[in-house]
């Protein structure tokens, strides 16, 4: 599903964001990615989404080598992943329903499909009664669930969540991760960047720790592999 082979990324200003990163995330896994800020987590996500390109090494996502993906094919690659942001990124002047439908419009779905699928997805995240509400009328947790519904609406094979609980009441964070676990149980790969050790401890999932641009710990790998 996602494979990094000796990947290095240095930005034009000289910042070495990732150094010789090797890892493999299989289909259907749930992975926490932890690390202090500036460790290279965002770069890691950007590389997967093809927002940045690696300087060396190979990245394979859904069977495609990203170094050979043409620029105009990037949007189609992104349709195989759903992205959840820390700051929700909901459009204020659109209702919950429209925010989710927006993602379907973008990929050219028919109005009929949109009318069928959006309520179903809002039901899945427990917001069927808030379809007509605006983001400002929702709690942080609810807003993030809208974000999740939007990420899921086009049926991606993986969810990339960039600190999805970062702006949410700690009590409600568990709810969001529960929801992600449920989505994962249905077969979607989950990649979740987080700062919150409570969550990582509580959910007993694979944890990849990035520090100084390198993978310093990977709970699924043996210690020897990490050191090499």
């Amino acid at each position: 599903m996602i494979e990094f082979k000796d990947v290095c990324k240095t930005y034009p200003n000289g910042t070495e964001a990732l150094r010789h990163v090797n890892l493999l995330v299989d289909k259907g896994e749930f992975v926490f990615i932890v690390g202090s800020s500036g460790a290279g987590k965002s770069t890691f996500l950007k590389l997967i989404m093809c927002e940045e390109r690696a300087n060396s090494g190979e990245i394979i996502v859904n069977g495609r080598n990203l170094s050979s993906v043409r620029k105009r094919d990037v949007p189609y690659l992104r349709r195989t992943m759903g992205i959840v942001f820390q700051d929700f990124r909901l459009i204020d002047n659109m209702t919950v329903y429209d925010n989710v439908a927006f993602a379907m419009h973008i990929v050219g779905a028919s109005s009929q499909d949109i009318r069928k699928r959006v309520p179903y997805m809002l039901g899945l995240v427990g917001l069927q009664k808030k379809q007509r509400a605006y983001p400002s009328q929702l709690s942080g947790g609810e807003q993030q669930r809208v974000g999740l519904a939007r990420a899921l609406i086009n049926n991606p094979s993986m969810i990339i969540a960039d600190e999805p609980t970062g702006n949410i009441d700690p009590a409600l964070s568990f709810e969001i991760v529960d929801l992600l676990s449920e989505i994962n149980r249905r077969g979607t790969t989950i990649l979740m960047v987080t700062h919150e050790h409570r969550l990582v401890k509580h959910f007993h999932r694979r944890v990849i720790e990035i520090h100084g641009g390198q993978v310093v710990a990977d709970s699924s790998a043996s210690p020897a592999e990490v050191l090499s």
Binding site: R72, R78, R89, A103, H105, I106, R150
Partner: protein, 301 residues
Amino acid sequence: MKLNSLGYLLKEGIRNLWTNRMMSFASVGVLVSCLLLTGAAVLFSMNIDSAMASLETNNSIRVVLDDNLPTLEGIQVGEELKQLGNIETCEFIPKDEAIKQYLGDDEELLAGLVGSDNPLPDAFRISLTDLSLYDETIAQIRSLDGVQQVDDYSDIADKLTSLDNLVATAGFWIVILLSVVSLFIISNTIRVTMFSRRLEISIMKSVGATNAFIRLPFVVEGVIIGIISGLVSGVLLNIAYGSMVEAVTNIAPFFTPVPLGPMAMRIYLYFIAAGVLFGALGGAISIGRYLRREGGDIIGW
């Protein structure tokens, strides 16, 4: 592009325009002035062309005879003129007739200027069959005995031509300048929309929208600005030209301006086409620049 998307994108473009109406208004204003100036320059040029054409078709050339040339000899000159070959009409205008044409029928004015006191000479008004032989024929006429001078309108034609050239040159540069300004303003207007919608753009990119899909609402916005500008400037030019024609015909009744009626449709069409072109270009430029520079960011924009 699927049909589903097209309707959606059109709606989005119109929404952009309305949310950002002050800047849209400014864009329309600048584009209207640009189109109006272009239109005015073209109409001016057309009028000069038509004036010159009418000068040529009337091509009344006045052959002035020597002062105090006896009438009989004058008639003789007329016969010689007719024999030149390239003369279509040849009409004798005796000096008494000429002074009346010049001063009108005012008896008082005419009183002291008739008969031998008339300062005007006898003349012929002629027109040519073949205008391409103009210079040769005029030279032949000049060489005839008894001909004092030949008043043709070539000097007026020269002046009109040079005025036409001046207007065309000045108009060309003004239009180029204004085109650049309109493109700049339109693309900035659309940049403002884009900036206010960068959240949407980042979401669109994260969900996998193609650049064409992201670009289209902004191009639609530009095209609508263009259509509105085309229509407004078409109406304004029609009104302005109408009242100008009226004023000019009052001042100079001998001059018939080019009627706008038959061209009105074409003016609208050209204006709208030019507006659409500019609008679309402005939109495409700004969104292209944005997508290349800042719009690539999804995480941490």
